[in-house]
């Protein structure tokens, strides 16, 4: 790219809605504390299910500034997105009221979209599953708009007047990384200067709990919910479902610099691969995830020693944890033993597509605060997961570059790097 100045993207605002911590600072305090936010499900009676626990958000949309109309017409996942985006925009100091919002876009990730509304409305129109040929007369108004996940992107575009490109990315559990990656590409290619980018999921519903029960993917440690999410631990029994959202303001570097914005970090690498193997199964060698990691390390021009933190996918299934450990070795070699790695899913559960963005928010905050959050409940490490998974206690350490990875159904594998210092000059 000699002679051509590449457009670069930086993070200038962060908003988070997470279990055990609504809002960016509460979220960060929670994950640093290593205190689990997992409890017995309260939003419906989980009695009939194998896994009866989840990481729920204590979220009041009105308290977070949503209007009654926004609340009425949107699913919980869109409400999370509106609240997180408002916090991120405020944090960024952007005045969208006066800016040229034709250059402001929206990219929201979500694995399952409006799943709560989808099921609740079905229960109504089908009369509790009695009628297959359902009666739309009993449906909420604007049912179609509420259910298509793209409406959440519309809600953000409308709220913030964003007239640039808008879309929802729905690559399952890598949606959160891929949505920020999509925003990065649009900024690099000059299609937008600012992207409101992140991911949201609110999947704690009977159908979602039942479907993960059916494949025995979620933890049945119902009597000790706070101990149930234990990535990389020998006593783990599956992942714990969560919900939440993170939205980042991703901004073209010169745009951010010219307005004197506070810059958390630069997005220095993004890559995705697919394993082409199985919708839910993972090959133990971790090659495809490893290829994504190699790719982002090359893009960011980093060696393993440069990494101050790796935010693991760390879902807490045996299959994932071993696959992921193999992928790090494949891509980074034995030097990866020196890098602190952790999974915040140990504290806030696995919120499907949303978690990738929440973990990117954690990477930005780890860089900003000089703290690596711990992996909670990691008391008896799986001998096959023998890297430094930062058990139990947070560590104060300077983080110059943070890597995060995601792995999900469909075989999708993604990786992203955030870097503290934006290097001036042509890339």
């Amino acid at each position: 790219m000699a002679g051509e100045r590449q457009r670069r993207a930086v993070v200038t605002g962060i908003g988070v809605i997470a279990p055990g911590g609504v809002g960016r600072e509460e979220f960060w305090d929670r994950v640093v504390s290593g205190k689990s936010a997992i409890r017995t499900i309260t939003s419906f009676d989980p009695g009939p299910f194998r896994s009866r626990i989840a990481a729920e958000c204590d979220f009041d949309p009105a308290e977070r500034g949503l209007t009654p109309r926004e609340i009425r017409r949107t699913d919980r996942f869109a409400q999370f997105a509106l609240a997180s985006a408002a916090e991120a925009v405020e944090d960024s100091g952007l005045d969208l009221g006066s800016a040229d919002t034709e250059r402001v876009g929206v990219c929201l990730g979500s694995a399952v979209g409006a799943s709560i509304t989808l099921e609740e409305e079905y229960v109504v129109v089908s009369d509790h599953g009695r009628e297959w040929e359902v009666d739309p007369q009993h449906a909420m108004p604007f049912l179609y708009q509420s259910l298509v996940p793209s409406s959440a992107a519309t809600e953000l575009a409308v709220r913030f007047g964003a007239r640039g490109p808008a879309a929802v990315v729905s690559t399952g559990c890598t949606s959160g990384i891929d949505a920020i990656g999509h925003a990065l590409r649009l900024i690099e290619d000059g299609e937008a200067d600012v992207m409101i980018a992140g991911a949201s999921d609110a999947p704690i519903t009977p159908i979602t709990v039942a479907c993960f029960d059916a494949i025995r993917a979620t933890s049945p440690m119902n009597d000790t919910p706070e101990l149930a999410s234990r990535p990389f631990d020998a006593d783990r029994k599956g992942f714990v479902l969560g919900e939440g959202c993170a939205v980042l303001i991703v901004e073209e570097y010169e745009h951010a610099r010219s307005r004197g914005a506070r810059i958390y970090c630069e997005i220095t690498g993004y890559a995705a691969r697919a394993n082409g193997f199985h919708m839910t199964g993972l090959r133990p060698d971790g090659v495809e995830l490893g290829e994504a990691v190699k790719d982002v390390m090359t893009q960011a021009r980093l060696n393993c020693e440069d990494l101050g933190y790796i935010s693991a996918h760390g879902s807490g299934t045996k299959q994932n944890d071993r696959h992921e450990t193999a992928a790090y070795r494949y891509a980074l070699g034995e030097a990866v033993r020196q890098v602190p790695i952790s999974s915040i899913k140990s504290v806030i559960g696995h919120s499907l597509g949303a978690i990738g963005s929440i973990e990117m928010a954690a990477c930005a905050l780890a860089i900003d605060r000089g703290v690596v959050p711990p992996t909670a409940n990691l008391t008896t490490p799986d001998p096959e997961c023998d890297l430094d998974y930062t058990p139990l206690t947070a560590r104060e350490t300077q983080v110059g570059h943070a890597l995060s990875v995601g792995s999900g159904f469909g075989g999708f594998q993604s990786a992203m790097v955030f870097s503290k210092n934006v290097k001036d000059g042509a890339a």
Partner: protein, 415 residues
């Protein structure tokens, strides 16, 4: 820096117009509506009983039985359209480096019938009745995931949800992947909403046509247009980097993808924008990014919402950019209804085929008068001298996307 050009070398169609590119084009030219009564289930509780239906699609010819039980009809159509596209491009994905290949699909509503059945069973029979496949059959990424696995497409894959603009946004993403080194991308979208719950969701849409006569139910740009008719199906196309295609000895390309753009009205989640400004901007930006000016656009494939206010906005945008009757406006989707994410993908197939055949495809049940603002194409126009085509798409809530295709450098494909 060498420019990496994206060319369309294969088209796979599973749509109301037919299965496979040859049947699709032939039946498009027959100028017969494929909209008819829904017979799959009892629609008596619905305000509308019409749809563009895919008939004669035998999924077992494309999807093995084990995979069929794990997937929804929308994914069957994607798997079939994907295989047809690979065959049309004479591309065997298994002989290439899998990291050179990707798939990007658009989906607005996921696995409708599959998801309804599982939720229905849960509430009528309890958690034990939910199958292991609910976790992989219903969600929006199912089609991309299954295509990636079947065809060993292991580069960066994608899934875009932007209602009816998704197909064009997926094309834009494919182009970004190719610009960054990917060799070939399977891209497009399908939709399968002809099941009771999905149609009940459509029932509340103000833009849904309540007209019972199939010949009158979907007539975009008509003064008395009653709304839109939904439909099922879509298309997948193979987009390749031009030199990568040449190296493997690919057949002549249908078209080159010259430019894409998208905007959002950011006006109101359920009310149409008061003006056409953002729609016009998406069109203008796509033309500019193609290195063209509006005079160089030879045909427009309109969004054709079918709702009078939305049609007015689109007509205003086209008149503002191209002048009154400044460009032929094709609406072949009048034969199929609106296929949501599959619709923009199907329009891409028509645009690419129009360039290859140098023929603007016809519309059905539209009338055109010399005094109209738009030069609506009713009968097919052969030997039209087409060098470029613009595709316009809009999605519920205010999404606007546009894409410009042009003749490939190698010239018109001999068909």
């Amino acid at each position: 820096m060498s420019v990496r050009r994206s060319v369309i070398t294969g088209i796979g169609v599973v749509a109301p117009t037919g299965i496979g590119v040859a049947e699709h084009w032939k039946r498009t030219l027959e100028r017969v509506s494929r909209i008819g009564p829904i017979t799959e289930f009892d629609t008596s509780k619905l305000p509308s009983h019409l749809a563009g239906r895919v008939t004669g699609f035998d999924e077992s010819a494309y999807v093995e039985s084990k995979l069929r039980v794990q997937t929804d009809r929308w994914t069957w159509m994607a798997l079939a359209a994907g295989r047809l596209a690979f065959e049309d491009a004479d591309l065997d994905p298994h002989v290439h480096d899998p990291f050179d290949l990707s798939v990007v699909t658009a989906s607005a509503s996921g696995g409708n019938a599959f998801g309804q059945r599982e939720i229905h069973n849960l509430w009528s029979q309890g958690p034990g009745s939910v199958t292991a496949y609910q976790s992989i059959g219903w969600f929006y990424a199912a089609s991309s995931g299954q295509l990636s696995i079947r065809d060993q497409l292991k580069g960066a894959c994608g899934v875009l949800v932007a209602d009816a603009t998704g197909g064009l946004d997926a094309l834009a993403q494919a182009r970004r992947l190719i610009a960054r080194g990917t060799g070939a991308v399977l891209v497009g979208g399908t939709e399968a909403p002809l099941s009771p719950y999905a149609m009940a969701c459509q029932a509340g849409r103000a833009t849904l046509s309540r007209e019972p006569d199939p010949a009158a139910a979907y007539r975009p740009f008509a003064a008395d247009s009653p709304g839109h008719v939904p439909g099922e199906g879509g298309a997948m196309v193979i987009v390749e980097e031009a030199e990568w295609a040449a190296r493997r000895g690919a057949p002549a390309a249908y078209a080159e993808v010259l430019g894409t753009a998208s905007t959002h009205d950011a006006h109101h989640p359920t009310e149409p924008a008061p003006d056409h400004r953002q729609l016009a901007r998406a069109i203008r930006e796509a033309i500019e990014r193609s290195g063209l000016t509006p005079e160089r656009i030879d045909v427009v494939f309109a969004d054709g919402a079918g709702e009078p206010r939305l049609d007015r906005r689109e007509a205003d945008a086209l008149v503002e950019i191209f002048g009154r009757r400044g460009v032929p406006v094709a609406v072949p989707k009048t034969a199929t209804g609106r296929l949501s994410s599959g619709g923009a993908a199907l329009d891409l197939s028509w645009a690419a085929l129009a360039l290859a055949h140098d023929t603007v495809p016809p519309s059905v049940h539209l009338t055109a008068e010399p005094g109209d603002d738009l030069d609506l194409v009713t009968a097919a126009r052969e030997n039209a001298g087409l060098r470029t085509a613009l595709v316009v798409a809009r999605g519920e809530g205010g999404f606007n996307s546009a894409a410009v295709l042009g003749l490939p450098e190698s010239g018109r494909r001999t068909v």
